[in-house]
Symmetry: C2
């Protein structure tokens, strides 16, 4: 249905704007189940495109999909001590099955390290069985008190990769391979350029030795943790007896990694590219890349529809995802409004006049400064050029996001006070030196609400890497990107 009430603007209230876009673009809806949402077809269509792209990348790098149980015996989760400490407060617990109280309760998986490594221990005997490179697409559940559509819900969809290796070097390499793969996906598919690097000990995954993360800057200048890749060492292998006989005949514990991204990415996409008219989708992740709206009037309806059909077929023939919106009870204006709100990159209008003149009207979801909102192009040219125009649109969105991230990143800050000023002045990421002392994290958090998002990897470090800790005490051991975060 047409719903032409204006959205809250981003400047007025970013959080409300976000919710309204998600609801009114029909990406998702609230459900009667506390903390769970419904992903509607438009949102799920985006997720399917994300899945397909990531899945192809996983498979190209030798990973296989599998599926492990939803329920995990409580005793499994309790075995790795950091793991249970981290996840205990978030568990949903099944205590009854088939009409009876269960002897041992099950947790709905909050993540699957425990059940998966218990299975690997059954399958792996020798170094020849390594590496094991598996991934699963699944739902997980982490009981949340304050939920936000896509960003934080009790149930969410994700993929979780779990690998086992013969050496720590190989496992570390895998962790970084996936970090790079995620980064490429976020940059090339989502147009959402993240910072990457290590998490501090206080922010690392419950049970990991090292956690690498991808942190993207949203339009409100808050950071979104968009993915993580963990080097688990032998923590889980030891608890689940995941051993192998090495080439030298020794019995050794395997080295594990795990890594995941979730439907949270859809929220990141909204907050990276959306504007005050609604969602803006990068073409690679748009379920519909081009919508065709025929202008249906009196006795020209037949030929106009016929032309619209033909244009749709020719675009499909070029691999473009097209929708022909021939609904009769809506005005063209209502349709424009609806598809803009849903973020479709291009719109083609076909009316009786266009038919006469052999032209099509082409409108872009975002108009570059100074350009016309709508262009009239000869039909053949419009069709021929659309694939490259879609590519160009993709590149522009990414470029704008990179420029925004860089423009909102502040370097050269030398005290917690300056850090607070920068953030209060609207900065996104603030890069400083850090001594490695967790007390500094606490002090910064208390003063500014910002947390260390990552210890910057080589490619993101400042040209002049800070030598002093932002606290004023001690030398810097790592450059930190601080930000307020989702």
């Amino acid at each position: 249905m047409a719903d032409e009430k204006k959205l809250t603007t981003r400047a007025e209230d970013f959080a409300n704007w976000y919710n309204e876009v998600v609801l009114r673009a029909e990406l998702a809806d609230y459900s009667p189940v506390r903390g769970s949402m419904v992903i509607r077809p438009w949102g799920y269509g985006i997720w399917e495109l994300m899945q397909r792209a990531l899945d192809d990348m996983f498979k190209e790098t030798g990973h296989e999909n599998a599926y492990f149980p939803l329920l995990i015996p409580m005793s499994f989760i309790e075995r790795e001590k950091d793991h249970i400490e981290g996840f205990a407060p978030e568990l949903a617990v099944v205590t009854q099955g088939g009409g009876k109280e269960l002897e041992e309760p099950y947790a709905i998986r909050p993540t699957s390290e425990t059940i998966i490594y218990s299975m690997y221990s059954k399958w792996v005997q020798s170094y020849r069985d390594l590496p094991v490179l598996m991934n699963q697409w699944a739902n997980v559940m982490r009981w949340e008190m304050r939920t936000r559509l896509f960003l934080r819900t009790s149930e969410f969809l994700w993929q979780e990769g779990h690998t086992a290796h013969a050496t720590p070097e190989e496992a570390e390499e895998e962790t970084l391979l996936i970090l790079g793969l995620y980064r490429r996906f976020m940059e090339e598919w989502m147009g959402m350029p993240p910072l990457t690097g290590l998490k501090t000990d206080s922010e690392r995954f419950a049970g990991a030795v090292r956690t690498y993360a991808l942190e993207a800057l949203m339009q409100d200048n808050k950071a979104l943790q968009a993915g993580t890749s963990h080097f688990l060492g032998q923590n889980f292998a030891k608890q689940f007896d995941l051993k192998f006989q090495s080439e030298e005949g020794q019995e050794e514990y395997a080295w594990n990694t795990s890594w995941g991204v979730s439907t949270r990415l859809v929220g990141g996409l909204v907050m990276t590219h959306g504007d005050d008219a609604g969602l803006v989708l990068p073409p690679k992740l748009a379920p519909t890349q081009v919508v065709i709206v025929p202008i249906l009037r009196g006795d020209t309806t037949g030929p106009v529809l016929e032309k619209a059909d033909e244009v749709a077929a020719r675009l499909r023939g070029q691999g473009v995802r097209v929708k022909l919106d021939a609904r009769e009870h809506l005005s063209p204006g209502s349709k424009y409004y609806e598809w803009e709100r849903k973020g479709v990159p291009f719109r083609i209008e076909v009316g009786p006049r266009d038919l006469e003149q052999g032209q099509l009207a082409l409108a872009r979801r975002l108009t570059p400064e100074g350009a016309k909102r709508k262009e009239f192009l000869p039909e053949a040219q419009a069709i021929a050029e659309l694939p490259e125009r879609l590519d160009a649109f993709q590149v522009e969105l990414r470029g704008a996001a990179v420029a925004r991230r860089d423009a909102n990143t502040v370097r050269g800050v030398n005290s917690i006070e300056e850090l607070a000023e920068a953030l209060d002045g609207g900065a996104g990421f603030v890069m400083t030196g850090w001594s490695g002392d967790p007390a500094v994290e606490d002090a910064v958090k208390e003063r500014t609400k910002a947390t260390p998002r990552v210890l910057l990897g080589e490619e993101f470090r400042s040209p002049e890497t800070p030598t002093k800790c932002v606290s004023g005490h001690g030398d810097s051991v790592a450059e930190v990107a601080w930000a307020r975060a989702y």
Copy 2:
């Protein structure tokens, strides 16, 4: 690892044979979670191919994917009285979340009619919002006491379609559209030709008005219910207030359908085509269609591997899914054995002699009677012919399954005693007349353990449709296919 112990044969013990094939072809494994299994990459790869094919068919017929919550408030499930009666004994119940006892417990979805139609009631106002044609790929949970890998597990993966329509005719048409779609999938992709038709009242889905089913005959002559498509009438619409304003301005309840197939299909595939050497996969659903085994010996290893690589690349270029098995610690014989057990349709061997003679050895997973197990073909010919040989293999498997089903179907049976004799004599399906009296179902079940699998649809009825009920009492109102079933 190589595991060369022979399988139990089908003749010795079909149930054991089945379990051994599933485990040793690495389709699935038992898990530490009661009633749940792990789907291993080889089994999941088959499921992914099934998903892709079905998903394309759903989308071609106008359906969209969405995702609804895993947890369903108990009060929702209780609202439709037949529904709760049917599902109550099978529910897994979450009573704790985030460390607290929940005020209202949640069931893990055994199926999603209730939660989905409650959402539709929010989205649908007018006839213009209809039909709603959605599908979800999800895990569901039905607590089972006696489980069988793939065939009956507490948790399983499936798709469930849920649609809403303005008229009962349109909903009935949808129910049959999907029944036909499933049948086409099972025939053309799985080579598993099902009977289709209505379920009797006693076998229908809890909450449906009519249930259509697809029943396939396994090699032990037991029937497997492979899919169902339900006409739900207004049963759920009334409980969940799913109303719309009709074109005439009246407020009316919508008409619903639901339909699903599950990972059970993987079990059906095993029991339809497998033989005493293991799994046999129809090429369309084989994660690997052709395995290349290089014969690695001394100083010819380099050129042989190079040739194997080249052959693999050329086959991939033709759209064939190829695996090159270059593992060094296994003999060629062990590899043959392993890939046969996993059901790969074709194997290519490349050895030093083949290299010299410009030939490849091509072995089929199943050898037609009188044919040679292995053919030596000029390399170019082997590569060029493989796609059509894969197609022919697909057609043969289907043909064999059709012939077996028909050979094991008995018609012209006129009493319960004759029905029992036919079944004891090894019949699969036995077709008889039926008066519509449920007491006859009970009598047959008690005497023979067979149940009415379906009331046969037009295309499966006997040329001379029975006029009398098999009980000897009353006229026949429908021809029934009886069978013992999984």
